[in-house]
């Protein structure tokens, strides 16, 4: 039988997780990913905020509306010649008085490669189930919770907003390319169609999801051996106890509680 038992109700668990999730802080990652047919390099930061904790016996901690605020700086290159047909200036003939007619040749222009930088942020909410994991790490007992499975993040309106942001970012770049101005709308459409909603979702998913999938955070840490009574003099030394085992479960004793039990020995 356990010698020490501690229990937290959902309200207490909420407070505990508020602090534990806040302690994770802002995480930053960099890499590259596919944005439709383009390759984008990115730096993304994400900050989690606790939602509502629901304790589900025997061992699940569910966080409803776990919020991830993310900010993404990315850039991608577009070889415009891949998505726009070449444009040719026709032959132009000019009659020069007393000289005769002079003609320029037909001149074709293939479009350059451009780099589009974009800064974009949003948040996503999800419901995630966590399991309790207890480990002896070195001289400490550590109780963590670990997300189960891969939460399905729904980007919804974010996708359209990011596509719009790409359209806005690409417009001034295209306008600065000689001869492209009259084709601006066509060029922007071609880029947005090439990326599409699927391209944005396919880009965001692998970048944003890792902030939540595989998420593990510590909720309790206790040295295996610790003093229960301090030394009171030369002939009255400190009294230490050793925690031999810790178990954590979600139990229902009238209400759902997170229960930690510890077996101790002198």
């Amino acid at each position: 039988m356990a010698e020490i038992t501690a229990a937290l109700d959902e309200q207490g668990a909420n407070k505990l997780l508020d602090g534990a999730i806040a302690a994770i802080g802002t995480q930053v990652k960099s890499g590259s990913g596919s944005l439709g047919p383009f390759v984008a390099s990115y730096t993304v930061s994400g900050t989690l905020t606790n939602g509502d904790v629901d304790l589900i016996p025997p061992s699940t901690i569910r966080i409803v509306d776990l919020r991830l605020d993310w900010h993404l700086d990315f850039s991608f290159g577009i070889d415009l010649s891949d998505i726009l047909p070449d444009f040719c200036l026709p032959q132009i003939c000019i009659d020069i008085p007393c000289v005769g007619e002079v003609c320029t040749p037909k001149i074709c222009i293939d479009w350059p490669t451009i780099s589009v930088p974009i800064s974009f942020g949003d948040f996503v909410k999800t419901t995630a189930d966590f399991q309790i994991v207890v480990n002896l790490v070195g001289a400490d007992w550590v109780v963590s919770i670990k997300v189960l499975g891969v939460p399905n993040l729904q980007f919804g309106a974010t996708t359209a907003a990011l596509l719009a942001a790409i359209g806005l970012a690409v417009t001034p770049i295209l306008l600065a390319i000689p001869f492209l101005g009259p084709f601006l709308a066509i060029a922007v459409n071609a880029i947005l169609l090439a990326i599409g909603v699927a391209g944005v979702t396919g880009f965001l998913g692998p970048i944003i999801t890792p902030f939540v999938s595989g998420l593990t955070f510590e909720i309790y840490k206790q040295p295996k051996k610790f003093p229960v009574l301090p030394a009171a003099g030369a002939f009255d030394p400190a009294v230490d106890i050793t925690i031999d085992a810790i178990a954590a479960v979600v139990a229902n004793s009238g209400e759902d509680e997170l229960v930690l039990t510890a077996d101790v020995s002198p």
Partner: protein, 210 residues
Amino acid sequence: MFDDFDSRALRRTDCFGQRFMKPGTYRYGVFPASGQHLSQERPYVIKVDEGRPGQKMKQHNIMLSATKGGFKPDKAEIGIDAGDMVVWNCPEKAMTPYAVVGDKEFFASSRLVNECGYSHAFGLPGEYRWVDAFGGPVGGVIRVRDPGVKTEADLSKWRETLAQGTLVMVDDQQAKPREVDIMVGQTVFFAVTKSRGLSITDERLLEKRK
């Protein structure tokens, strides 16, 4: 991006034309702009025959391709008649600006002298004030409007205007007309009849250098 407009440094949408009024052999080279000062080589040849009196001017086009450190014409040697015009253009995508420079003083795109011309297709809207980079008093303004394409019909209409070029006659003292209004994509041909040597240079390029 900037639509560089400078007869001393020819680009993809530029052409240089030179008439040869007297029979003879004219040698020339094509160099990265300003590179003509580093090389005395004039490996390409234009042989000019007498021609017949009253004969109409003919045009001969030479297409250039970029090579390492220079440019190569599609025909190393051509034969023409006196009074004919030769027009050079380099259609390549990745190329440095260039100059066509001959062994006679009148024959150089870097300094337009007699019976020659420079054309430029304007790719960006704006007001282009041009001057003679060699300090002459001649100059002018090219105002380039955005065609405001909104529909397919606008686009077709704009495309039709691209075939219309504008001629500016230039000598040491003046340009006629001095001011020109065109649309993006249209071409202006500057014909230099007689001069001591001038350039058609966007004044912003000279300001940049200052």
